[in-house]
Symmetry: C2
Subunit: 147 residues, 2 copies
DNA sequence: TTTGCTGCAAATAGTTTGCAGAGAC
DNA sequence: GTCTCTGCAAACTATTTGCAGCAAA
């Protein structure tokens, strides 16, 4: 079974288990988030769904994202400039590499991060629960364009 | 000379060099940011200055922070929950360890970060310009309180 | 004196909420 | 049939902006 199909099943089960209803709008949002290779924004999700549900309201997108976040099934990526992007495919915190030109977001593999977390815990005497690591730069295709 | 005094001098020189006026309100903001051990928010800065300038407006704080950011003399730490904190003492990007209980922010030493940045650049084929690394956890004193 | 700065208030953008009707179960 | 969900519009919060008077240089 395709990866995103599994994610959709997991999310639906969580919704049912917690007595939430499966509405077409909610399903459409879950569907986009579960695929979410591109880390869509609320606007992206809303725009995409409006093709099928012209009356879909932004409030519904926001409400469902809050709900899915509360289950830990969506990762919210808030950026300093105020923009928010979402990942419902890999909802656990992981590093991101962000192109400041085209806004593309890539997920790198970084095995040293766990080791680093331990070092930080020792040094600061904190109990570390989670982290957030973003690299900002320019991707190779934007670099080639030299815009 | 104390560290923050140097920072204040550096910032004042930049302002003068760029023909910006040195007003009492601006100085008060620079002063707080240059000390900024605690990574204050705009509200923090505003509240603190209102003791001396009861008419100080939030708009002035925002405007001056924008100005200082444009010189690279203040680091803005925007968080996913929408809150913003500022560091005018160490304005270059550096990792933070944040207590989710008392909101204290500590700066750890992390020398592996440069190495990690290089690895990411190779792996993703990005030109990395800057990064943002935050660890979220509970500090030892909040841990002891067990609230 | 000149020009930029401040304080106020209004505008803005992103997100949340109240309410009445629609729809899932 | 019950109770949650949705869509709409209004509310809200953090930040920005227009303007007239004020003050640094």
């Amino acid at each position: 079974m395709a990866d995103h199909k599994k994610r959709i099943e997991i999310i639906i089960r969580k919704l049912r288990d917690n007595c939430y209803k499966i509405t077409p709008q909610r399903m459409a949002i879950v569907d986009i988030l579960a695929r979410s290779e591109g880390h869509p924004s609320v606007e992206d999700i809303h725009d995409q769904i409006k093709k099928d549900f012209p009356t879909m309201s932004l409030a519904t997108v926001y409400r469902n994202i809050v709900l899915l976040k509360s289950f830990g099934e969506v990762l919210e990526l808030g950026f300093p400039d105020g923009s928010n992007r979402y990942d419902g495919n890999k909802p656990d915190p992981h590093p991101h590499v962000i192109c400041i030109k085209c806004k593309k977001i890539v997920d790198p593999d970084l095995d040293i991060l766990d080791e680093m977390t331990k070092k930080v815990a020792v040094e600061t005497d904190f109990t570390i629960l989670r982290h957030r690591l973003d690299f900002f730069g320019i991707c190779s295709s934007c670099m080639a364009k030299k815009v």
